[in-house]
Structure formats: structure tokens, C-alpha cells
Assembly symmetry: C2
Homo-oligomer: 254 residues x 2
């Protein structure tokens, strides 16, 4: 039985303020929740469809399991189609240690607004072995249910940090690492030197990289369109652009 | 004034059945609608916020313009934040000529379900000079408002075709062009031969490429993760994977 209190709790976790206070987030759906249960994240409790669970051999976990009807799950789910399982997990908290960034390739997300884009970027960062994703405070929330969904479980493996943009860049500068940014007037990605460490800035969906960050950029990159002389779409979706750039950094190491 | 009839018309165009019957679609928002007005697509009529239009020097078009209140636009808009302009456009209709595919690099989308992914793929196809996107009948609708939004205007420049999957592949086979697919057990994308022409199959978000298409695939590709020996996310988002593959095809020509 899903108590009124638990119902209220899950619904309340739909709000960033409450997620921040409680340091919790909600994950929905079989694949995602089962993946997260295998991860280092702590699960507070699970809500499962009583019919679905009866068909499962075992849910190998000592987490509290609340069995309830599909109708009750529907009331608290943010999905169109009611999931068979919902999990409430503790947020990962990592201290940002600037020194550890020195030898890594990291991403800096400059006001990425769309939770789907943010989640997709976290998922591809995981694919390309990028361990730290630094977000400006104006970015979407990594614990937004849509972000969580788009990460497909990668949220458990990537360290995300929210920072004040300029102080972060001032501090990062002292590491003497390259800083890459994509610009429509940048240089051909495939002809530029790319390092194994450094920071790749990805700009906001509509506005690109903020002017005030440009002085910190040591290498201005451009993803060449094809054929070069033909006017095409003005730009690429930000998660798509991030993917192409990260893939190229990693290809060079291959 | 927005008549009741026009209100009903726009709302009805939210349904695929009606869009198919009338061969029309709805685009919302200033940037997208103004882009589409510059394109080859015919616009049937525009609905504009009367306050917004009074601040515009001119809307350089001879299309019927219906001025109305922001509140009226809100009633017919599918957006969270009410746009200042909505346009009703005629769908592009292109006959699929197999012969013209012979010398092109094309995409085949195998049951791509998410309209956002579909739109993002159309947008990146435009960036990489891929003119034809062939969709299986089970793909999302290119004229779904979310797809249109994600294409960011590229819908006007890309030819999309819905086909019966197996008959299409049978016919494509006779062109003797390479067929590429991505598979988790495929070969390193960066070490395989890639042609200037051929068909790239991208599989469904959850299931990948259907088994029945495998016999048609001449080259099985894999986007290497990094570092290669570490288990990461199982896969990449389909629009992200499409982007990395298309970028690599085009890089080879650069």
C-alpha cells in the first residue's frame, strides 16, 4: 500500500527546492531503476506494481519495497505510460577538487536549459570517459526527472557540480589547461590540436557561449558543415554538438 | 480576431490523421516561423500576437495574417510559454526516386519513436548535407509539432519519405550501394571504409536495428567508447549516435 505520506513525498520531489532540501531524486521505469540499484547510489525506497513484481524472480535488494496497484503508481508518476517501478534515490554529492580536474578532459555547460539535453550530455560524457561535468547555476537541474530519464543511468557514474561561472573559470585558469569552446567563427575541429586534458565549454541552446567566457577560451572550434560552401541550418543541437566534439577528442587517442 | 473555425483548425492539426488529410502542419515561435517563411514551403496563414506585430517593422509576406490577443494564441498553442506567432504551412511532398539515391549519402530511420530525436536528426542531416531521410512507417511523424520544433527549420530543406521497410530495402539493394548500420558488436567506425554514397541505418531507441534488416547491412559500425576496456553506458542516444557517424563520413571528405 502506498501511504498518503509517501504519495506526497514523491510528488514533492518533483520540485527542485524539495529535491535540494532532501538531497533525493526520483527515477522511474524498470530499466533505469534496476540500473541505478546496481550502482553506488543509495536507494531510499522502491514503489512497485504488485502485479509486475509477482512476475519477477527476485528484486535482489534489501531496500524497502512498497507494493501497490498500477493505479496508485499512476498518481505519482510523471510518465505518460505508468511505470512498473519507481525508486527514490539519494543524490550523489562530490566535492569539486580543482586539482583533480588538471589531468582530465571535462565539460563545462554554460546555461544548458533543456533537461533532456543535459541528460543526453551526461549519458554521452559517460560513453566517452568524461568523469566531471561542471554546470553553471543557470543550467537545468541534473535531478529533474527528465534529466534523470535521459541519462539512462549514467547519472550514477558522472560527477556533476554546480558552480558560479566566473569564479570557477578564474580558478580553472590557474591550472594552465586548455579551454575549448565552439563558435560559428571558430576553426575547423579536425585541423586543431586537441589535448587529453582541458575543459570543453558548451553554450546555451539559443545564445551559445556567453561573451564573458570568451577571454578564458584558448581554442575556438567549429564543427564543419557539409558541403562547406552551402548555407545550412545555423547550428546543431547542443547535445549533438557535444557528442561530435567529444568523439573527436577520443578518436585522436585511438 | 481568431475565429472559432481557425481555432478548431489549428487544434485539429495537432492530430496526425488531420495533418495527413489536409497535408498541413503547424509551426510555433518567432525564429522557426520566420525561417520557414523564407523557405520554399507555402504558408496558408499566420496567427500573430497583435502587440508583438505592432513592434515589428514589417512581416515581409503576402500570407494572410490574423492578429489576435496573446490569450487567444495561448488557447491554440502547444507551447508552455505562449509564442508571438504561429504559422500553418503546407507539407512538402516529394516523390521518392530511387535512382537519385544512388549518388547520395542517405539516412534510414528504423522506427525512431521520439519526435524530438527525429527532429534533431533532420536538423543534423541538414548540417551535414544529407538531403534524404527515409523513415519506416513506425517512425514518429515529421510533422508532429515537437519534431517540427526540433528541426529548427531544417524541415524545409530535407526530403523525408515514409516507406514500407522491406520493399524499400529490396529496391535499394538493386542500386548496389553500401548499407551501414551501428551495432554494439560492430567494427570501429574510425577504422572502416566509408563511402560518399550509401545508406546509414539508425535503429529504434530501445531495440536498435531490427533483425530482419541485418541481411541488407554491408558494413557494421561501432562508435568506440573511451577508454575501450571500461564498461560505460550501454549505448548513446540515437540522435547523438547519428551525429557522430554523419560527422565522420563528412570528415573523411574534408
Amino acid at each position: 500500500m502506498l501511504s498518503k505520506n509517501k504519495q506526497k513525498h514523491i510528488t514533492a520531489l518533483g520540485r527542485k527546492k524539495i529535491r535540494d532540501q532532501e538531497k533525493l531524486f526520483v527515477a522511474e521505469g524498470q530499466k533505469l531503476v534496476l540500473d541505478l540499484l546496481q550502482s553506488d547510489l543509495n536507494c531510499q525506497y522502491l514503489i512497485v506494481d504488485e502485479k509486475w513484481i509477482s512476475t519477477q524472480s527476485s528484486l535482489n535488494t534489501d531496500v524497502e519495497i512498497i507494493k501497490t496497484s498500477s493505479d496508485s503508481i499512476k498518481k505519482v508518476s510523471g510518465f505518460k505510460s505508468t511505470p512498473s517501478i519507481i525508486g527514490v534515490f539519494e543524490q550523489n554529492s562530490h566535492r569539486l577538487e580543482m586539482n583533480t580536474l588538471k589531468n582530465q578532459l571535462c565539460l563545462f555547460l554554460d546555461d544548458i536549459q533543456d533537461p533532456g539535453n543535459l541528460g543526453t550530455i551526461i549519458r554521452l560524457a559517460d560513453w566517452f570517459g568524461i568523469k566531471s561535468v561542471i554546470c553553471s547555476k543557470a543550467c537545468a537541474d541534473v535531478y529533474n526527472p527528465k534529466t534523470i530519464q535521459s541519462t539512462m543511468g549514467a547519472i550514477a557514474r558522472i560527477q556533476t557540480h554546480y558552480v558560479e561561472t566566473l569564479p570557477f573559470f578564474e580558478e580553472y585558469k590557474s591550472l594552465n589547461c586548455p579551454v575549448y569552446g565552439t563558435f560559428l567563427d571558430g576553426k575547423n575541429l579536425y585541423q586543431e590540436e586537441l589535448n587529453n586534458n582541458g575543459l570543453i565549454i558548451m553554450g546555451n541552446e539559443g545564445k551559445g557561449i556567453q561573451d564573458k567566457l570568451e577571454p578564458y577560451v584558448s581554442s575556438r572550434l567549429f564543427i564543419p558543415n557539409y558541403p562547406p560552401e552551402v548555407a545550412t541550418s545555423e547550428s546543431l543541437n547542443v547535445s549533438v554538438a557535444t557528442a561530435i566534439i567529444c568523439a573527436e577528442f577520443r578518436r585522436r587517442l585511438g
